[in-house]
């Protein structure tokens, strides 16, 4: 390479690094701000908001745990997440098996209809669901809210599992049939074990969605002892007096499960989120 060309090459590399590094810093800044603030005293926070903490004031976490019924909220979020993810997984796998491996009239149309529900915004359903749930006596109950979450998770889950089941070679299924396996046998002994990667993806993506969800939780879990973590957090803003470092400690605890899940299953997250725009 001659002089000017090499110069261009280095300039290009520099611009790339700078752009991406700047974007990364920007992505991380709020997280950084949350973490450092969580370890500061109120005085220290007011004096300097952006630099590293000097006192490592752990009492914020005590305050966070003591206030706002943190444990109950955490438990509520966990119950809803586990319940909705587990139920939707089973129901979705059954439906996906029918779509991927059986023939029946109207299959294509039905599949597309279910797919189209994937992007129906929850806000559209919240009013009529509330009216119906009141009538059924399911407002302020775990099963009622889990039912709604399962409904909202199903379309994407069915889509993902159907696609995955279709990739399982027919020969394996045929071989099992030769050995006298029934449809149910094929489902439980072949399809499910072979689908482990897709199942993990689904669990991770759906768990994230339910854990982070706000609107449904806000409307259907109104009783104070039923509120979820996100509802509790959202309520903090409207306070006139807020202990910001203690709040940040609370936010940090609420975020840790997600970050751990992300670092542990990054591959699954990316695969799941890219294969369908879940919100």
């Amino acid at each position: 390479m001659d002089g000017p060309k090499r110069l261009w090459h280095w300039a290009g590399a520099g611009i790339r690094q700078l752009t991406v590094a700047a974007a990364t810093l920007l992505s991380l800044f709020p997280v950084y701000f949350m973490v450092v603030s969580a370890f500061k005293t109120k005085g220290e926070y007011l004096a300097s908001k952006w630099d590293l903490p000097h006192s490592f004031f752990l009492h914020n976490f005590v305050t966070a745990f003591a206030g706002e019924k943190f444990f109950i909220r955490f438990a509520n979020s966990t119950i809803l997440t586990v319940g909705a993810v587990a139920v939707s997984l089973v129901i979705a796998c059954l439906a996906a098996y029918a779509f991927a491996r059986m023939d029946f009239p109207g299959k294509r149309t039905l599949f597309n209809l279910i797919l189209s529900l994937m992007v129906v915004p929850p806000v559209v359903m919240v009013v009529p669901l509330f009216v119906s749930m009141v009538r059924w006596g399911l407002v302020n109950t775990y099963p009622g809210t889990i039912l709604i979450y399962v409904g909202l998770l199903l379309p994407f889950s069915i889509y993902l599992m159907t696609n995955f089941f279709q990739t399982i070679p027919k020969e394996i299924v045929e071989a099992a049939r030769m050995d006298g396996c029934s449809n149910q046998g094929v489902f439980w002994k072949i399809m499910m074990p072979l689908s482990a990667p897709a199942l993990i993806t689904l669990v991770v993506v759906n768990a994230l969605w339910v854990w982070n969800e706000l609107l449904i939780a806000l409307v259907f879990m109104q009783k104070d002892e039923l509120k979820t973590l996100m509802v509790g957090i959202a309520a903090l803003r409207s306070r006139n007096y807020v202990d910001i470092p203690a709040t940040m400690a609370g936010l940090l605890i609420a975020t840790i499960p997600i970050v751990v899940l992300y670092l542990f299953g990054q591959k699954y997250f990316i695969r799941g989120l890219v294969s369908g725009a879940v919100k």
Partner: protein, 290 residues
């Protein structure tokens, strides 16, 4: 594929029950609700009166206008995600670590992120402290508290959070493009810009469309959390959006019928885009990109 005729329906029954309860029946109720008027504890048929009332309400009109303004985020997100994805694809040093961190905001709860940002953007918040520190004190504004700035600030947070999805989506597709395509163009002496314009962008076209449509749906009907947490629609009605309007009408002012009418309109508008998205999903072959 031997199975009894009724067997598929057996496997599908739980799905039908749940989707019927969560979508089917409520959508019918929604349409009916939007056509009723409630007065003195009894319902009466109101025709389109609720819909007409909506467009006479300044708050609703402002909400629609704000949702349309949010659409400005879409081209910004596409361009930013495209640039970042291309740079990462060129395997700059540490690209995998960059990808991990750039995707992180997309996973964090909007509630948490929104609260953190509302502290960052406070008049006495860390952003203004930093601006004063570097001598830009005149830029230290009330980011979420002024009618003029609140919506742009919310838009910044939306872009900040959603752009990572685009980066990962584009990068996944780029990695599945045959290397020879790029090599051939390089041998032909195409410079960097021509390479992007004639190879990268056309290769990404379907995924870009897909991301754009998903983002449009987001701006029109998935921004409730941002606004609820950061501004509650204020100051005044500066950041009011249709979703928040539905929530306030339905659950604070007890105007279920008005809330239902807005929901029907939202359903119709998103319906158009859902249809588009389905078509694009098929063409984009997002699954194959992996």
């Amino acid at each position: 594929m031997s199975h009894r005729k009724y067997e598929p329906w057996l496997y599908l029954t739980p799905t039908f029950v749940v989707l019927g309860l969560v979508f089917g029946y409520p959508i019918v109720r929604l349409l009916i609700l939007s056509l009723l008027r409630r007065a003195g504890g009894t319902d009466s048929f109101a025709g389109l009166a609720n819909y007409r009332a909506l467009f006479r309400d300044d708050v609703f009109v402002q909400a629609v206008r704000n949702n349309l303004t949010l659409l400005v985020c879409v081209p910004i997100m596409v361009v930013v995600a495209l640039v970042l994805a291309i740079f990462l694809f060129e395997r700059i040093r540490g690209w995998q670590l960059y990808r991990t961190t750039l995707f992180l905001p997309y996973l964090l709860p909007i509630t948490v992120v929104g609260l953190i940002f509302s502290y960052i953007f406070q008049l006495s918040g860390v952003l203004n402290d930093l601006l004063k520190l570097v001598g830009l004190g005149w830029l230290a504004l009330d980011w979420l508290g002024s009618t003029r700035l609140a919506l742009p600030t919310v838009m910044f947070v939306i872009v900040w959070k959603e752009v990572g999805f685009g980066v990962v989506l584009f990068l996944a597709r780029l990695m599945s493009v045959e290397e020879e395509l790029f090599d051939a163009a390089k041998i032909d002496g195409a410079n960097w810009w021509r390479l992007q314009w004639h190879i990268t962008v056309p290769q990404l076209a379907t995924v870009i469309e897909f991301f754009a449509v998903v983002s449009v749906i987001t701006m029109l009907s998935w921004v409730f959390n941002y606004v609820y947490v950061m501004t509650s629609g204020g100051p005044g009605k500066a950041t009011m959006v249709t979703e928040l309007y539905v929530y306030l009408m339905g659950f604070r002012y007890n105007q279920m019928n008005l809330a239902a009418a807005v929901s029907v309109l939202l359903l119709l508008v998103t319906g158009i885009f859902i249809f588009l998205e389905l078509r694009l999903r098929e063409r984009a072959g997002v699954m194959e990109a992996l």
